[in-house]
């Protein structure tokens, strides 16, 4: 369970994320102006530099077959300082993923935030707010 404090911090971090490109390398491969949501189950967690990646199996619905998405997100250091642990998102977790899609149309993108079934929201900021 996430504490209200962490949820509040995550929300404020999300607000401060606007306009900042992906950490560690340019986010130009992603369409930051048109974020999307998808639902799915985490298959693989790669908690590594230069970027963490999550492989997510999208829910099959509306006659569409299940599809594998690959999400890139910032680095272990940035996520740790934003309140995540290596175990915040684990294989088997079902969640809603808010992401900037890949411009080339492949399934995946740059992950912006995650809403777990518990209601917990996970987000991050490259730079702490000065509040």
């Amino acid at each position: 369970m996430v504490s209200p404090k962490i949820a509040c911090v995550a929300a404020s971090l999300l607000l401060s994320f606007g306009g900042i490109a992906a950490a560690h390398h340019s986010g130009a491969a992603y369409d930051m102006e048109h974020p999307r949501d998808m639902e799915g189950t985490v298959k693989t967690v790669n908690w590594t530099n230069p970027h963490i990646t999550f492989v997510v199996e999208a829910d099959a619905k509306d006659g569409q077959p299940a599809q594998t998405f690959a999400f890139e997100v910032s680095s272990p250091g940035v996520l740790t300082r934003s309140g995540w642990t290596k175990r915040s998102l684990q294989p088997g977790d079902h969640a809603v993923f808010h992401y900037a899609p890949l411009r080339d149309g492949n399934p995946g993108g740059f992950l912006l935030r995650v809403k777990l079934q518990s209601g917990q929201e996970l987000s991050f900021s490259l730079q702490p707010s000065d509040e």
Binding site: I20, A28, N46, H51, T53, S75, G77, R81, G108, Q127
Partner: protein
Amino acid sequence: MKMVLPKFAIFCIALALSVGAGLHCVTAAPADFDGVWIPDVKDQHRQETGNVPPWKPEIVPQVQRLIAEEKAGRPFLVLSHCLPHGMPTWMLISHNAFEWLTTPGRVTMLGEVDGNRMRRIYTDGRALPEDPDLTLHGYSIGHWEGDVLVVNTSAIVPQAYIAISEAVGIPNNGDMHVVERLHLAKPNELHDDLEITAPKVLTAPWKTTRIFKRYPDRHYEIVEGECEQEDLIPGKDAYGNDIFVSHPQRPDGSVSTTK
């Protein structure tokens, strides 16, 4: 009287030595830079267009091409290789934190993006070695001028980038020299005033400043850094021991770096 003078002389010498020693300590590290520093990324982005390096004419088309590639959604990945950032790129564009450690005779900067992201700045009065091995971070010596740590870095490999963003960087091509003036603009705001001399790619020394912030109340720490990029994942050996096993590269269509 004969006994008094020597005692007085000894007292004066001891006083002078103790004052000298005290001054030496103050000179060694007059300001408190220790702690975890997080780059001001928003300011980094402002600098991308607000203060561009004086590239040589023959370098400008390369820079323009990299900028165009990024705008087209095909960014060149300056940092995709898991090598240390190198100097001065670490100070210029890193989004990750570093820890500053002051110990007698040296300052150590520890980064967190892989296992050996480290700068040593020697403050023990040594000179630059006459024929040093070249490295990505170069050889740094520093001295205090009041509350400012002045650092000279040379012996940097020619492949080390001068990067203005994570998608735009030009190798220095050799003979680069970096002078930094590190000082606290506020108690928890570190400014690194850099002057980068790179005669193979710049027409004149490039002066720029990077800002880092410290948040002592939040107890931030740098994290363990590795950069295996999914090459290894947890698994078992034949005995059932927990080991890391080789992982074929991106069978799942991972979006991470294209080299």
